[in-house]
């Protein structure tokens, strides 16, 4: 990596999983946020939802910059992936681990993006619950396995930059060691 290079990472996941929060925590420029007030039942859970994309940047010093993109959570915005897909280095899939519907949320995200992210290094991050039940971890692993996808699963608080940075360490480790997401070799689980 050299100082002038930039690396593009994408955050996806169900509405409310914490994609916008991640980018706000990580960015060292004022992030682009395209949130509007919710007009449907999501308003019971949170006030705002992203309708275009979030964008932030994180300097890696002389190793370059990370360009951080966050997509809307609802699958009606799936088209936005095609806007940001060029030159993606990796994908972070966020899960709302405090929700009783967390696995449904992950399933919906994987169904919408599976074909697009299958070829990319990917990390699954469980947010909003520092101690997710083992059933949730196993459920996430099963959903990945069903699709023949390999991705480490870790627990990270989207509001804490230092926890999020660990995801990048993992992603870069996967990239540098040539983990091939097409050949399942069993999931690594960090938590």
């Amino acid at each position: 990596m050299s100082g002038s290079e930039s690396y593009k990472l994408l955050f996806i996941g169900e509405p409310g999983a914490g994609k916008t929060t991640c980018i706000e925590s990580l960015s060292d420029i004022a992030p682009l946020v395209t949130d509007v007030r919710c007009t449907d039942e999501l308003a019971r859970l949170k006030e705002n939802t992203t309708v275009a994309f979030d964008y932030g940047e994180l300097s890696l010093g002389d190793q370059g910059r990370l360009l951080l993109y966050g997509l809307p959570g609802q699958s009606r915005f799936r088209f936005m992936f095609d806007v940001v897909r060029e030159n993606l280095l990796g994908v972070i899939v966020l899960v709302d681990a405090a929700s009783s519907l967390a696995l449904d949320g992950l399933r919906e995200t994987l169904d919408a993006y599976e074909s697009a992210i299958r070829e990319l290094p990917c990390v699954v991050a469980l947010n909003k619950n520092g101690k997710p039940p083992s059933a949730l971890l196993e459920g996430c692993e099963a959903l990945l396995r069903e699709r023949g996808m390999v991705a480490p699963i870790l627990v990270a608080d989207a509001r804490r930059r230092e926890e999020l940075v660990r995801m990048f360490d993992l992603l870069f480790m996967m990239i540098e060691n040539g983990v091939d997401p097409k050949t399942p070799t069993g999931e690594a689980t960090w938590h």
Binding site: V36, D40, V51, R76
Partner: protein, 129 residues
Amino acid sequence: MALTEASREACATALDTLLARCDGVTAAMLAFRDGRPYVDRVRKAPMQGKFAAMSSSLVALGQSILREVQGGTLDHVLVEGNGGKFVVASIPGSGGLLVIAVLANHDARLGLVLGHAKTCALAVSAAIA
């Protein structure tokens, strides 16, 4: 502000008027600011869920760009290709609740499309007030 059945009908009428009065307009729709369809009127191409989502994205990005360049409030976003035009705008007075999207042929006169879209937006604004 309440979106009643009567206001939905008045909104549909406003879209019908736009399609009837402005040559070259082939479709028009109202969507919620978070990308769900509300009412649509189509003369040609189908204009459903994806357009509602795209319209809300365009309005949000337009507003973001104007914020960055201190460009004031958004009037409309225009997407123009050699095969057609697409205009989106936020409905005034709706507290940003609704956006309007208008699709027109490439030979439609831009000034007319924008003018009729604005008139329609005001009619919608009155219908949901």
